[in-house]
Symmetry: C2
Subunit: 662 residues, 2 copies
């Protein structure tokens, strides 16, 4: 059929990332709701189908789409295995349904429909010709009956009957099928890619028994119950490789290290080896594998740091000088941000003639650690390496290991961050770390969770990192730590903290206006007293339990902000698709003063049928409140707890619930 | 070069409609600002170029793009001829600029840059190899000098000098050029497509001298000065073809016409002819051509109605029964919306086997009237004919006649309206007719003018049509007519009224709750007293003059709403790109009561440098006001005039402007 004769239009199919150039992402097991604008000139009835399949499957699976409103159609499928899916949409004019609708209206109006029945008989006869076996016979019979001598009301009843509707639906006329034209990709990611709680710690600071001793993987194994008890399920370690000695940085990033200064773990590579080696003072590969397997027993994944850069002592420098940029004086180009020089770091030259062997080697680094049982990688500064390199590397890894997760540590401009996510990074660091005011939190999270960004960018929120002690924590003290933790843990289903600095509320900067920690672990071994009474440990444990127990907090696209007429109070909810679990968070963003406000909830969007009375169960304090009507009161004292995490319990017991009511 | 090695990313090029499937639209002579997100990993400097050409030109014209902010780049070109344009974007890493930036910072910091100069010499030498003639010599010389024995500061100066920058820019290294990959289409439309004032009238009601006589084209010629004096430049006539007699509708749409009832002009076709014929009572083809040419002298275009449907008496019915749907009883399918029957109308069957000859015939109808000098077509109910048919027909017409304009009369669901605009309709009727409250006006016009819709959908606003006497006009009376006229004329650069019913404030519905006019001209000949004292004629004349004198009102994408803390007062501005013409409109949406409010203007976005004092010149009343500071007061009495149209005059005279100041 000529394209000009296809009357149905299919537009705006979602989820679609950059016209299908990149896959949309869902966690495995998640429902994928596919929507499309489908319409036709005039008033003909339409039918539409979602076609979907695991990539590589020869046949489409077919799902009828439902009309919602305003030319919008929807159908869903479940991405029940890791890996790539494909989907598209087709639609056609449903001539039988069109005819049937009109027949019904005419019959109701008492008009003579004998000619209509002749027309219908033609449609039914065509369906009989398309159908096979028994259906064909029954359709043929019906067609004959519609034009028979039987009384008109009887024939009309037959024409409008469910039997015929079912038979006709089974043999649709697809001769004028419109195809969307594009096959859209989607990737099913591991569940932990969507729902995870990260804990970052320096292994060398884990020698709890002996201040000053270099911690080992064995010490990390000792530390595991502490991490697991708080409820974290990803333990992220800064680089564990041998550390360079040339231009090593001393304490507080000075350029004159003492003889015992351990150096920055990100200055990777020394005589003992490079990206596939382990820093001898941490232990052996066997120790590391034991750490991975002991962690696994506590449902903790070890996340590796991937920092593709070298110290001048890295074996690559001697073995593969062609992977670095040679300067005209024969030296190798170190990293710089003029006039600053980072002589302890050699970046790779991805534009070298030998870039292909470089790329293969870097891929082999990731694959090496995959072979050691690692599935989660936190990638250092990916925005300083080519975007298409990452697209290739992550695709290569995921081909064999679709269960891998890559977190992009790209604190850079938004478009680069989004492109990295499109190129394959599963999770991304965000600007959350600096978003403190209500309007900026709302604006940013609307962008992340309600715009097209939600299809590919999965935020992982960090209130702090070894590089960033935000001003808000410096001045807000303990209430600020609690507030930021609770926001991170509830705004996104993925979040993390850099500890023990976080739970111990460490907030001294290297100097005023600096976001660097004083005596940063990046340059020295720290010793922490994990049992300090002001530790947030019990509090964090409770928050992580609330997350585990409430499915609404295990997704991020399900975020809805609520209007509150007070700038200090942020209010939002998260909910499961069926509204069986609704969590309402009310946060006082001012860590110094008590604030109160009236909160307005959009009951209709939350699936309530009428103005309800319901119970609000604060999962933090375990207090329960009775709420009623549009506006309800909250008051938050940051010295007690700056955030309430309510579970909205809709079913109120009444007198009729009790035995003696009868 | 392998794709993986291309480091530059180009995304989100605008204007782009549905990934380039449809052209964006601009009026001929308008500046086309092309924007793109362009970025690269790391900190390298970029260069980007806009490539553009008239479709069919063999060579691209090339425009350097400028970096704006946040990875956004922009360049512009002028679409200075009617028809199709193409454009795309390319970008590359500017290695010389990257190197130069770093050199400058290092030199300023007093670092030794001798190795840097060697590196630079290499870049300059490569440019010399690419360059021709004199440039090559000068580059070669410079490369030598940079590595010469001359003092370092002298060589550094040379390296950073403007001469070298210019030479290097002339011979860029395009070896790693990234192309956007898509060539995007754009169509330059006639100026009147973007800026027009329409007047609709029934020719048969133009016999001013003789109530009851059937008006003729000669009467229309007499009426032209009246229309021109009010300032309209498009005169739109309902269909002028012979009117069918079978099932003709009588006065007020009754099914029992009197013998003299003239019938609806949309029931096209009778013994006298069809879509290429003229209703004998209106005159001859020669009369019509004279009307067209007399109108042209007054800068008025005659707009034809294209209604692709037939009365049962249309010659097509006998000559081409294959273009209609035959029912099993041998009858032809008339239009219906069950249980309603429109037996006076036969729709075409675009799905007939003979649709190709039907399409060709319908195209020939439009071409016939193009040959009679018509360039503007108002298309009746395009949403009841296939969307791809219109895409084809309009493209065919525009190929030879890019100066044609098609207005879609599609009062239907939004996605169909938008698709018609994408498919080629130049202008579109809108929901403005029913948008009366502030929030609904703001929401709708934000959608039309600030979202992607603005690239293809050009609204033509009608406060009334022969089919629609909106409730607001029925109950609001004269102030409502003035208000709706002024909103239509200022919110969009294209607007129209159905007169003389509009300027005479006719507001009686056929029955309560109906939007049909009582004694509608659609079914009878009307006689109007154009000189009634309450006529809005002088007022309309003033509004149209204000539109002609203020370029800000000659575009629609330049609309900005301003916050006013009063639901009854709507405030918006329109401005030229250079802010030389800024129009502020303040409208009282309540036709019954006076309201006042404080208006806040966003001075920064309007190009003011500091908090200004400026003159507000109300172009309606000719009153002048002095405004100062962020908030200023407006008060609007609907019985005087419900709208003020201020021209913001920025230059305030002070004492120093006067001779005696010295």
């Amino acid at each position: 059929m000529k394209a000009i004769q296809k009357r149905v239009i299919i537009e705006n199919v979602k989820p679609e990332v950059d016209g299908g150039r990149f896959p949309a992402k869902r966690a495995v097991g998640e429902t994928v709701a596919v929507e499309a604008d489908i319409f036709v000139d005039g008033h003909d009835a339409l039918s539409a189908r979602l076609l979907h399949r695991k990539a590589g499957e020869p046949e489409w699976r077919i799902q009828p789409m439902s009309f919602l409103v305003n030319d919008l159609w929807r159908a869903s499928f479940t991405a029940d295995e890791l890996g790539h899916y494909e989907f598209t949409v087709v639609a056609w004019i449903d001539r039988f349904e069109t005819w049937r609708n009109q027949l019904e209206k005419k019959a109701v109006a008492g008009q003579d429909v004998s000619v209509e029945l002749m027309e219908g008989a033609g449609l039914v006869q065509s369906a009989a010709d398309r159908a096979g076996g028994e259906d064909a016979d029954r359709l043929k019979e019906t067609a004959d009956f519609l034009t028979s001598e039987a009384p008109l009301p009887e024939r009309t009843r037959k024409a409008l009957g469910r039997d015929l509707l079912r038979l006709m639906a089974a043999s649709p006329d697809l001769s004028a099928l419109t195809e969307y034209g594009k096959i859209l990709p989607l990737r099913a990611e591991p569940v932990k890619a969507l729902f995870s709680a990260w804990y970052e710690m320096f292994p060398r600071s884990c020698a709890d028994d002996d201040p000053g001793r270099h911690g080992t993987f064995r010490d990390c194994i000792e530390r595991l119950p502490y991490v697991a008890d708080m409820g974290f399920d990803v333990l992220y370690l800064p680089p564990i490789h041998p550390i360079g000695r040339s231009h090593r940085k001393g304490r507080n990033n000075t350029t004159k290290p003492g003889p015992d200064d351990p150096g920055s773990p990100w200055a990777i590579g020394a005589g003992e080896g490079g990206h596939k080696a382990i820093h001898p003072e941490l232990g052996t590969l066997e120790d590391f594998r034991e750490l991975v397997s002991e962690a696994k027993k506590l449902d903790i994944d070890i996340a590796m740091d991937i920092a593709f850069q070298c110290s001048p002592d890295h074996p690559y420098v001697g073995e593969h000088p062609e992977w670095f940029r040679q300067r005209p004086d024969g030296s190798i180009q170190y990293a710089e941000n003029p006039p600053k020089k980072y002589q302890d770091i050699y970046p790779f030259d991805f534009e070298s003639e030998h870039a292909e062997s470089l790329r293969q080697e870097l891929l082999s680094v990731v694959q090496y650690w995959i072979d050691q049982g690692i599935r989660i990688f936190r990638v250092d500064n990916p925005h300083t390496k080519p975007l298409r390199f990452w697209e290739w590397l992550i695709a290569e890894c995921k081909r064999e290991h679709p269960d891998t997760v890559f977190l992009a540590e790209a604190f850079t401009r938004p478009k680069t961050m989004y492109r990295l996510a499109k190129a394959g990074f599963t999770q991304s660091y965000t600007y959350f770390t600096w978003r403190n005011l209500k309007w900026e939190i709302e604006q940013y999270f609307e962008e992340l969770t309600q715009t097209r960004v939600k299809e590919f960018f999965w935020p992982n929120l960090w209130p702090n990192t070894p590089d960033i002690l935000p001003e808000f924590l410096q001045i807000g003290e303990r209430p600020a730590f609690i507030l930021r933790l609770m926001l991170a843990a509830t705004l996104s289903s993925n979040y993390g903290i850099y500890g023990p600095a976080f739970e111990l509320c460490v907030n001294e900067p290297r100097e005023p206006l600096s976001e660097e920690y004083r005596d940063s672990e990046k340059y020295e071994i720290a010793h922490w007293n994990l049992n300090e009474p002001h530790s947030l440990r019990p509090f964090i444990k409770r928050i992580n339990r609330i997350r585990r127990e409430n499915p609404a907090l295990q997704g991020t696209r399900n975020l809805m902000f609520h209007p509150v007429e007070r700038e200090e109070i942020l209010c939002f909810s998260k909910y499961t698709d069926d509204f069986s679990n609704i969590i309402l968070v009310a946060a006082n963003l001012d860590p110094h003063h008590t604030h109160s406000a009236w909160v307005k909830l959009p009951f209709e969007e939350m699936g309530f049928e009428a103005e309800p009375t319901f119970q609000m169960h604060d999962l933090v304090s375990d207090a329960r409140y009775l709420w009623h009507g549009d506006y309800n009161y909250v008051e938050l004292d940051p010295r007690v707890v700056p955030v309430q995490i309510f579970r909205l319990r809709r079913r109120m017991r009444t007198e009729s619930d009790f035995d003696y009511f009868m």
